[in-house]
Amino acid sequence: MKGVWKSTVFTAAALLLVGICVAFLFSQSMLNLRYVTGYWLGVTAQSGLTLIVSAGIAAIGGAIEGSRLKSTKANQIPHGRKAWHIALRVLWPVFVAALIIQVLSFLRLSTHGAGASDIPNLSLLLAFFTIVLFHLMLGFNLGLRLAPALSIPVALVSSYFWLGSAWAVNYYPLRYMSGLILMDCCRIYETLNASAIMTAIAFNGLGAIALAIFARRKLVYSKKPQIAIVGTAVLVAAASFAVSANLSNGLGPVPVVNRPTAEMKCTSSRHVVSWGDGNKKFSLPPKICFFPGQDPSNRFAASLDAVWSDLDRLGLRPPKTILATNVVVSANKVGIVATPVSNPAEVTYSLVSDFVGQPIDCGESEAAWIKRDLNYRSLINFLLRATSHNALDMTGFAPSLDPAERATFDNRFASAIAFSRGESLNTATSMWLKQSFESVRSCDAKLPARS
């Protein structure tokens, strides 16, 4: 037994070494900072990137240990040891090795969690734990049943393709059963659907139990066919599929949903006015709402405030509430995109573009659509010039105009730049702006002249 023990530890250590190297390379090239910065849910989810490696290691290790046990012919020679005891003894080193990879992945990413207001998602960590366990048991069963030369590569390839390919199938529950899709989460204004996590836990947890029962058949000495064991394993496997399919029934192609806006904190940094007895205060717009940690250095609020004021000064009446989320909002609210790693210009550009919206499709001829599109592009160019300042240059995000188109709007753009320096718009430009803005949103509005 001492020899077996040494071998299992050696196998686990060797796999751990290889696994850590591959996992590091893998997460280095695929990490999405927009997900992990200042948001523990994102950190936890992105640590699942290394599941491809840890689950693969668990599957290979399980297959190696299974094939080692297969050679002992434990189900043909009488012995007094319990099946679970044998399995636990040989499997735990490799299971720990696979979990170490997951833990290291999480710890490495946790450096990005500084300043986050939430806590690591424990149910998500449990889902990753069950996924690794499922792959371990899958490999173990393959090892117990096939020749090592077949079981080990088959375990690796099947683990990888189950995790990866299941994500791409159009039967959505399968995506959540395999579980890798959970790592594709989340920007700070998004969260994970709890059903997606529960599906992964249910399928992989119950699936691992079914595989453990199935493995028992090869570990218990018996001369009779063990129909009860096989029957129980099949029943548990069917239950795992049924439960998880039921849990994931209402889920769409991705597990990410918008975070409830009730979690947002709103401020109105300017225009605080008191009246009457001096105790009553009321804030003038804009009211700017962020999720905790979304604007860590308070740079976005000030920039948004400035751009909002410019839009208001242009006479465009921007919505009085700005929400840093992509939830579709009402006419008096506008949503913007902001993550802790965004720069202020990206966030304010988002305000301008989301406020203007996309040009409406009026079912016109192609020539009319080209005019409408040109009107939209010139309007965005104008607004970005008018609301940019030295410290906040958004002109880099402006949609392209060819030289001839640009020449048409040269005067307008010159007015926009003058406006950004504090001058007022002349009446003609002001009229053009309002007409141009209206025609982006309404089919009834006539396109302004020269566009």
């Binding site: 090592p148 030369a149 590569p153 690796l156 390839v157 994500w167 890798l180």
Partner: protein, 203 residues
Amino acid sequence: MKLWTKSRGIVEIAICSFLVGLSAPIILSFQLTLPNLTGGPLFAQVPGTILLSLVPSIYYSYLYEKSNLITLILTKRKLWFLELAAILTFMVAMVLGVLVSGTFSNLNWELFRDSAFSLSLELTGLTLTSARIASLAPASWVLLCALFGHDFQNGGFHQWAFLLEQDSTQLSWIITTITLTLGTALFVGQGRQWRFKLKSHSS
């Protein structure tokens, strides 16, 4: 020779390789979709040929592991010659399979190239490790190609991941030829003691 042929599973190797070669036109149109985590599109396609190309080489290892080692250890024949014959059987049978499939479809050599490359890694694995884990070498390579082989910045694939290419380039054939030659030389050239992990008790 008859005993060796039976013990080493030469007929099985030939049948497996022939069938894989024969299936080339069917598998060429089969694409696996995998999530792309490296940026660019959400999903990336991986040709089914890279999975099928693993089958004959894994089977080769399986038969090697299963073969009656005592017969091989005690044989007076030159082992390097016998193993070279086994590899040639593998190659010739697959070429035949591809040629036969080419008579009723377009002639496609990509699966043959991929299988030959997988075999070269398998032979290296067999030499340096043991038959039970040798197949991890080609299997891991295939997975690495699937994970990191796409070049989304320039379009297409990285040169080292030529297994993903549907149209074979000259370079891919050169790499395959070199690795197969080296793998074969390593495998057939190893001494009897190293091959069977025999310990010398002469001292």
